[in-house]
């Protein structure tokens, strides 16, 4: 009898051993142009393009072997480090590519006009809607903004820009004079946090630099999160399935209404593509938003 009891207890103890849960957090490798979006550049001016490469875990790879090209070839000159000089009036496209660990080539590109003369006399507003970029100006006509200005990412030679109806971007450039010759769009993004679980989590936000030059995640008054799930953290990440490799903003302590997170100066506005809400005790994603 006692041996049977001991055997039964040993069986029950075996049931309570710690096992392993495996989560598939694969993401497509991405290459992202992180330098500010050019609205217009004057012939003869120089500009430093930058790009970052993220592998299948969403981790940024240091010092990738980037290949920069320009189209048409006489529009700009660009060196191996992405340093470009505008040379000829017209629409130009900068493309950067990298060979992934899987042997495939992925690329990203940005297009913008090169002008002999750049003048903006009124405020310009640019709105990003799904996969296309358009821009308009008001007041005195100018040739600074151009509906051909856009940025896209391609993989293996095929355009794969994904429309994102949850995110829109509104950029406003300030009035400049003739002496200012490279017009770049201020980078701020607006979007909506959405639940990916059965817990309530919703709210709109704006992500970008504030007047003091700080990078801020401003969550609006319509934000609402369930109070039933403690251990909720918010991250910036390049892998929407995992907080690993991301930046932990902090534990969620506000469950309704407007609030802000001021981010460290070491983070650039284009460093992270996703906002991720993660339940740490349960190790599951609760909600997210694609920033851009």
């Amino acid at each position: 009898m006692y041996k049977k009891i001991l055997l039964f207890i040993r069986f029950l103890l075996y049931l309570s051993c710690i096992g392993t849960d495996v989560t598939d957090d694969y993401v497509e490798p991405t290459l992202r142009i992180t330098s500010p979006q050019i609205i217009s550049i004057k012939v003869g001016q120089k500009f430093q393009f930058t790009a970052k490469y993220f592998d299948t875990s969403g981790t940024q790879i240091d010092n990738p072997n980037l290949i920069w090209t320009v189209s048409p070839p006489d529009a700009l000159t660009i060196d191996d480090n992405g340093f470009a000089t505008a040379t000829k009036d017209g629409l130009a496209t900068i493309q950067v590519s990298v060979v992934t660990a899987l042997g495939t080539t992925i690329s990203a590109e940005t297009s913008f006009p090169v002008r002999e003369v750049v003048v903006i006399t009124e405020t310009a507003t640019m709105t990003t809607d799904t996969a296309t970029t358009t821009s308009t100006t008001s007041g005195t006509a100018s040739n600074t903004t151009d509906s051909n200005t856009s940025t896209s990412t391609t993989g293996s030679g095929t355009a794969t820009t994904t429309p994102n109806t949850a995110t829109s971007t509104t950029n406003t450039s300030t009035t400049i004079g003739d002496d200012d010759v490279v017009v770049t769009a201020p980078q701020s993004y607006q979007g909506t946090i959405q639940t990916t679980s059965s817990y309530v989590l919703t709210g709109s936000y704006e992500y970008g630099l504030n007047d003091a030059g700080q990078l801020v995640l401003d969550i609006a008054a319509d934000y609402l999160a369930s109070k039933a799930l403690p251990g909720l953290y918010v991250y910036l990440t390049n892998n929407p399935n995992s907080p690993s490799g991301g930046y932990k903003i902090g534990e969620v302590t506000v469950f309704s209404g407007a609030h802000s997170y001021i981010l460290p100066s070491s983070i650039d506005v284009n460093d992270y593509k996703y906002i991720l809400y993660w339940c740490k005790p349960f190790s599951v994603k609760v909600g997210d938003s694609t920033i851009f």
């Binding site: 989560t23 981790t59 817990y199 251990g231 190790s283």
Partner: protein, 263 residues
Amino acid sequence: MDSKKRNGILYKVGAWFLEADQHYTDQGLLDPNATRGVFVISVYGRHGISDRITLVGYIPFTRVYQNEQVFTSGNPGQPGEAVNSLGDIDLTVEIQILKRPRWVLATSLTLGIPSGNNSGGSDGSYQTGDGEFNQILKVLAGTSFKIAKHSFYAKASVGFNNRSNGFSDEIRLGIETGSQLFKNKFLLLARLNTIQSFFNGSLSAENSNGSIFANNVEVTNLGGEINYFITKKWSASFGYSVPLSGKNIYKAPAVSGGIAYKL
């Protein structure tokens, strides 16, 4: 009432186990979670100090664990973790109010001693107790009857759990029926229990210090149990229950077993 007349003693060593990779949310919907397990070894005792008064004690030793979390990308996951500690001890006094040939009416008061760990583990979520003082007042009614010359019993209970420290109060309902089989060598029973919250507590994720399922727990469980009477004094039991619905609680079947000794 003859308080000097004893009404039997029973001791039971039991085990209870649950492992869940999903849970009921606050909306009563199902969501996934990292696999968590709860394993309890308990000592249970009943001591009738008279025909009408019985003292009951329940001492659990609880293990709460979570599986290691691994990402296919190789990104750092989360190591597995476990906490072993004494759980919340229940002390109960049962009083028989009325006894008729086929009916019995009783009441009980259970004091849930917060002897468990309500903030165990690296993030405080490995709880072996809720950290508050439960006071459960219950009324029970039981009867026996026959169907086709076969004897059955049935009982029903309604209880109110007055909770402290910002927890919501609860109402607890239960029904149970069973019958002895095979020359009374086996007792087979079925149970339906439910806990419903009044949602009147103040505790939430804003102030619960990382605990999971801190408050407003609801669950309806359907279960069965088979008892085998090895001798007149020794018996063994095996139970199985499944949650039918719930809020803020794991969704997984629970298995239990035990060895009882009756004096």
